[in-house]
Each structure stands twice: as structure tokens, then as C-alpha cells.
């Protein structure tokens, strides 16, 4: 009887440990970005939205700043994405957030992009952004990719209060392309301390996967 009790206890503890480890190592289901293949070359289109406040429909933290991803025409608060390896990824970011500036102006010049590190803002090719006008950055440091994201003017009309925001609302559109390279698991982040309401903007959504941070699974 005693042996059975001990064995049962060990099994219960093992199950609890397994559940705990699974909880810690698990994560949100990644969004697999559809890939295209033309003339043997792989590519993918990643469409993102940056919002000042994510809203109660998408998060319990309705006032947190966040990235959103468009999946089959619907905006989701998912920051873990699967991208094809050795492929060209075309990124479009619709930014509905204001200008808060870069803490390090060096990040105003994009890196790691195709087309000679050129990105486009509202269709206009650019080599560098005025760091004071930036709202966020999109960066995958391990791939050498970093792009500043222009913010909307303070006096812009029809500003979006809560996500998901519509394209008719005030926004800036940033487009760029980069190559993914070899398979791997990479983190991406925003380099602007943009967490309103936290000390120096560093807390909350800046430190939480699912808002201004995430992972890119290159497979």
C-alpha cells in the first residue's frame, strides 16, 4: 500500500513538472506566412500594422502599443511568424502610431535590406529617416535587419484610437524587403521604448511577447 502511494505521488509530481515545462516551453501558434515561388525563387509577403493602443478586442491590455499581423485579411495580435528560408520577404507596415523619436539616432538608417538598404515611406524610397519622426522600428538583429518606422503627425486627422485600425484612418506606410537566409529561430523587436505609461517606456508591451516583440521561425 505504501509503495503504491509513493509511486502515485511520484507520478503526480512528474505530471506536474511535465505540464510546467510544457507551459514554459510552449508558446503561441506561429502564423505561417504564405510563400510564393517564381522562377525557382521563394518569396513571402508579410503585412503588419502598428497601433498605439491594441484595444480590448485583441488584448486584455487595451492601452498597450502593439504590432498586428494580417492573416487572410484579418488582423491578429500575433508576433510569432514562420517564414521560408532563403527567401525574399516583402514587408508592409501600416503605422497608425505617433512620432516619439529614436533613443539612438543611429537606428534611423536601415540595415540588412535588399535594394541597397533602401526602404520606402508612402511609396517614396529613402535611405534614412529623421530620427525625431520615427514611431517604432522593426528589427531582426540576428539577420542584421533594422528599419525605422515613420510615425503619423501629431495633428493628423482621423487618428485611430484602438486597433484594429482601418486604412482610411491616418497612417504611414513603410515597405521594404529582406532575405531570410538559413533556417533558424530569431527574435524580432522594436527598439523604440514605446510603452506608454511605463518608466521611460521600457515596460509592459516592450517586455512581453505578443506586442512589440516576437520570434521569426525561418524554416
Amino acid at each position: 500500500m505504501k509503495l503504491v502511494a509513493v509511486a502515485g505521488g511520484v507520478l503526480v509530481v512528474a505530471a506536474l513538472i511535465a505540464a510546467y515545462v510544457t507551459f514554459l516551453t510552449g508558446g503561441p501558434t506561429p502564423y505561417r506566412v504564405p510563400q510564393a515561388r517564381a522562377a525557382g525563387a521563394r518569396s513571402a509577403n508579410l503585412t503588419l500594422q502598428t497601433v498605439a493602443a491594441v484595444g480590448s478586442k485583441l488584448s486584455p491590455n487595451k492601452n498597450w502599443v502593439s504590432y498586428l499581423v494580417r492573416e487572410q485579411g484579418v488582423w491578429h495580435r500575433s508576433t510569432v511568424w514562420t517564414l521560408p528560408a532563403n527567401a525574399v520577404v516583402h514587408v508592409t507596415i501600416f503605422n497608425y502610431d505617433g512620432q516619439s523619436g529614436l533613443r539612438n539616432p543611429f537606428l534611423a538608417q536601415p540595415r540588412g535590406l535588399l535594394d541597397g538598404d533602401t526602404f520606402a515611406v508612402d511609396g517614396k524610397p529613402m535611405k534614412v529617416l529623421d530620427p525625431d519622426t520615427a514611431s517604432h522600428t522593426f528589427a531582426i538583429p540576428a539577420l542584421g535587419v533594422i528599419v525605422p518606422v515613420l510615425g503619423i503627425a501629431d495633428d493628423a486627422k482621423n487618428q485611430c484610437e484602438y486597433a484594429p485600425c482601418e486604412e482610411s484612418m491616418a497612417h504611414e506606410t513603410v515597405t521594404f524587403s529582406f532575405r531570410t537566409g538559413k533556417p533558424g529561430h530569431y527574435r524580432w523587436q522594436c527598439f523604440v521604448p514605446c510603452a506608454a505609461g511605463f518608466i521611460y517606456g521600457f515596460g509592459g508591451p516592450m517586455q512581453t511577447i505578443g506586442y512589440m516583440d516576437g520570434f521569426v521561425n525561418v524554416v
Partner: protein, 277 residues
Amino acid sequence: MSLRSHGGRIGALTVIGTAIVLPLVIFVLGPNMPPGDWTNAGKSQVFDNTVLLAVMTPFTVFILVYIGYAVTMFRAKPDEELRDGPPIRGHFVSQVVWLVTTTAAVLFLAIFGSAELFASNGSGGGSGPNPIATPGGNVLPVQVIGQQWEFTYRYPTYGGVETAELMLPVNTEIEFHVTSLDAIHSFWAYQLGVKADANPGVDNIAFVKPTKVGAFQVRCAELCGIWHGYMFDTGHVVQSSQFASWIKQQRQAFSAVQRYLPKYATTYSPDPVARAG
């Protein structure tokens, strides 16, 4: 057997054990101690670690011998009555030996450590904005800027160009100026033997002279937020000619952003984001 006999045996075994282990520590283990011999600071740290190990060796051997001796000799026999050992009070010789050896070891290490910090210009550690020991001759200042979550680097003697990559010329005395734009980070260039805290508003200076060409790891060694574990990159020590062409290329590559960079300073105090709390 008397206490004196036990003490004599333990002492003799300690001396014999030390005589065997100490040469191995100095000549076999010591040269392989981290961080290696890439730089003057690294070599100095290897030497320091070897000396520390050598000083520790007799004490460690004594403790291990004592444990082994006690387990072997003082083991209770089966069916033997459990009883306490004889108390030791006022054993003058033991007290003097212990006090003299430990005091001598601690004083030696204090003097040796202080001398080494001077002799090797801080031995790769950050010495704050006013280092007591500085190398003579020409130095190449390189600023290390920590931010959540990446290190960037500025070269004030090359127009203050900022880069995302750390490149150093070989056989050149480097003066790292380590600072941060936000939280506390720590610049740890392992193979170089450099580990200096990056504090916002502080210019933490560390000297090093790389003597080998190759790639080295840079890591943040201070828990600094969600991506602390990802805050690493690879630096390179290259020939002077390679460095010259690289820095020229960097100045061209980042010319677009150069006009937006603040004038080079030992520290930076960017305004908090207006809307952040």
C-alpha cells in the same frame, strides 16, 4: 592513537598531496584557464587565475585530506556505541598555524590583486571614468553603447562614426568607453578578457591590447530585460590595413545617418519618450 599522531598524519598527507597537485595546477591547468591569451588583459587574467589556484591548492588539499582521513579513520565500527569525539580546546599550535597561513594568504592576495590591477591597466575590467592605471602611448578609443537589446560602437577618432559591428586593429591599445542609453548592461568580450558594466550616464573605461587576429564573442553580462539572452554579437580583431579599409567603408555606409548622430560624448542622455510615463 593520539591527537598529535592524527594531526601529524594529516599534515604529512597535505604536504605530499600539495607537492603532487601544485605543479599540475601551475603547469597544466593554469595555462588553460580562461579567458586565454588573445590580449594583454587576457594573459594577465590567466596568470592571476593561476596564482589564485596555486594559493588555494594547499588549503583545498588540506580540506580534502581531512575529510578523507576522517571518513576513513574515525568511522564507527558496526555495533559501536555512538559517541561524540574528544573536544579540542586551546590547541595553540593549530590556532597559530591556521591564523598565520590564512592571514598570509589573504594579505598576499590583496597585495597581489592590487598590483595586478595597476600592472595591467585594470586587467580588462571597467575602471570608471577616471582609471587609476592607464597605458602609455597611443590608444584607439572605441565607445560601446548598450541599449535594449544591442551593442553599437562609435569611433571618435574617425569622425564619430557609429557601427553595428565591433572591429579592432591588432597590436593596438584599445580604450573602451562603455556606456548605456537605457538600462544597466555589461559589455563582455570574453576572448579579449574585457568585462565592463554599461551604466546609463556613466563612462566606464577599460583598456585592452589584442595581440591575435580572429573573431571573438560579445555578450551582455547583466540581466537587462526580455531579450538579454539574445544580446550578443561577434567582434573581430584584424590587421591594421584591414581595419583602415573597414572603417573607411563604414564611414561611407553610414554617412546618411551621420548628420543625425549627436556629437561624440562620453555619455548620452536621450530624452525619455514624451508619451512614456
